[in-house]
Assembly symmetry: C2
Homo-oligomer: 335 residues x 2
């Protein structure tokens, strides 16, 4: 029996989830739910569209609801709201607010006897898993997370809000020397500026003051002031031709040691260094993120079927629950 | 209350486990158990030593028994035997026999109400996890596992059994061109010879026929015949100076796609490729493997405390169970 999935929100991420559901033989897309008039929502796969208010009548038709909203205002309200009636998945990524969001979803999901898996994706998500596995295996080491090369949508949006800017794309780029030091197990202390640079492509309005726009960008607090930022002005055609994708990626690198301790007889063990690296090179950030959400939707359905409820994160989900294959199959082919 | 650990078997791996237990604040080493006369077993940390037969009297003193034996003959017998009375961990790595071993441990552990986590380490173990996560997130892709640079102890032993050989060390080395193709997401078909080369350092007996030894090595079935193998004869001093460590490592690289499907209106989505890589660079193979076993020992104690029993693998263990930190702490600092 296939897992029946609903998608709430139909932007880039919702479209990524739609493709991932279609690529999963054990899943079925019930429909796309939106705050917009459903007649105006054109769904790529031709799946049914509904107004979000219809959800309250469809509790029995959906096994898992994947909520594809923004972390700033959508998810803090939506995920707890729907966790009372549905198994839900979200990609909440405001790190500082995760404890509050977790508590809110936990209360709602427990009251409703449902599962809510929050903060799925790749960071938080796959990167978090790799930080946890590494810290657990080699306690006392140090983790480094590098992002890029890839498009940061939040930073691109920030540039677009500057007067005189028609369009913008911002790439986050890890500094090669910093990566080299971390990969060598040197555990360096690195400032924000030493870890990443920011490269911007900007289409300016005809006659706009480019020097002013560049100055506005490179001095923008939180977004750019702490980084070495390069601004390139290009044409709308160049933007479309060379920058229409949403690639991203990055690495979690951990280095820790074993040995180095003193023995009962006073001799000292060799100090051994181990470097663990997990890296992603993604052609499409929203499609990969959507694929992660769908794997966790499978786990949510199974956990709830097994009688579990409450808020969960990727840390609480046994890896086997993510696979459509049986325990026998994964042990035989992947162990 | 700390987790009380016993170590059964005291070779390189047992020593690695010992160091990892010592590095874990929430664990305590009860003792080292051996088939040898305990008076002859010199334990680095000064922990107590016991004959293996003493285990039957110490069921209440040990929360988890970590079995550090060989996969060929020790573990198939030992792990099911002790799983009846103890939560156990092993590093069973004969891939073809995992289903049988799992079934044997499962029956014993269920009968005794204990947990037995088999095939922990890095391959099987951390590498298996990365194969499973990648296949689950991006179904239909392809995984590649490369080992090295690192010392293969089984291959080194095989060389030592050749007449005229005093000592030997064999390094497994991934072929850079193969790695490049896989990292580029090309999903190449690769033969055994195209993936890895083997580099051997051999100390020969005085007056031994080196040409014969080299010929014996490079034509040895299963071990070397399918590889490009280089043999270097060195002195015993060079062996000690340059090859006394047991470094190892490798990479699991997975590439899969999203998109590429046809929409309801006949248009086609872009095919996007994603490459996931997990890599290890380990100064000491047995110490890293031992550290993984100890993290899973923590999980075994917790799972049994929660009322679970039976055989498990890394696939069945929720990542949070590996960490000494609380759920609140890992969500706040690692998610």
């Amino acid at each position: 029996m296939s897992i029946k999935v609903g998608i709430l929100g139909y932007g880039n991420l919702g479209r990524g989830v739609e493709k991932a559901v279609k690529a999963s033989n054990d899943m079925e897309l019930v429909g796309v739910f939106s705050r917009r008039d459903p007649a105006t929502v054109k769904v790529d796969s031709g799946a049914a569209t509904y107004h979000v208010d219809e959800l309250s009548k469809m509790k029995d038709q959906i096994d898992v609801l994947i909520i594809c909203g923004g972390s700033a205002t959508d998810l803090p309200e939506m995920t707890p709201k729907y966790a009372a009636d549905f198994n839900v998945i979200d990609s909440f990524d405001t790190h500082a607010n995760i404890p509050t969001h977790f508590a809110n979803v936990d209360a709602a999901a427990k009251a409703g006897g449902k599962i809510g898996i929050i903060s799925c994706g790749w960071d938080p998500g796959m990167f978090s898993l790799n930080r946890l596995y590494a810290h657990s295996v080699l306690p006392g080491g140090k983790d480094y997370t590098f992002w890029g090369n890839g498009v940061s949508q939040g930073h691109s949006d920030a540039i677009r809000r500057i007067e005189g800017v028609v369009d913008a794309r911002q790439y986050t780029v890890p500094v090669p020397e910093a990566l080299d030091k971390v990969r060598a197990g040197e555990n360096p202390e690195l400032t924000t500026r030493e870890k990443h640079t920011r490269v911007c492509y900007v289409v300016a309005e005809e006659g706009a003051d480019k020097a002013r726009i560049e100055q506005k960008i490179v001095t923008m607090p939180n977004y750019f002031a702490d980084y070495d930022t390069t601004v390139n002005f290009i044409t709308a055609e160049e933007m479309k031709r060379n920058h229409s994708g949403l690639p991203h990626g990055g690495s979690v690198i951990y280095s820790g040691t074993t040995g180095g301790t003193t023995n009962a007889d006073g001799s000292t063990n060799t100090l051994n260094t181990h470097v663990i690296e997990y890296s992603l090179k993604l052609d499409s950030n929203p499609e990969f993120t959507g694929s992660v959400l769908v794997a966790y939707a499978r786990a949510a359905a199974r956990m709830n079927q097994a009688g579990e409820s409450g808020a969960k994160t990727v840390f609480d989900v046994a890896p086997a629950l993510l696979s459509p294959l049986s325990g026998d199959e994964i042990r035989a082919h992947m162990l």
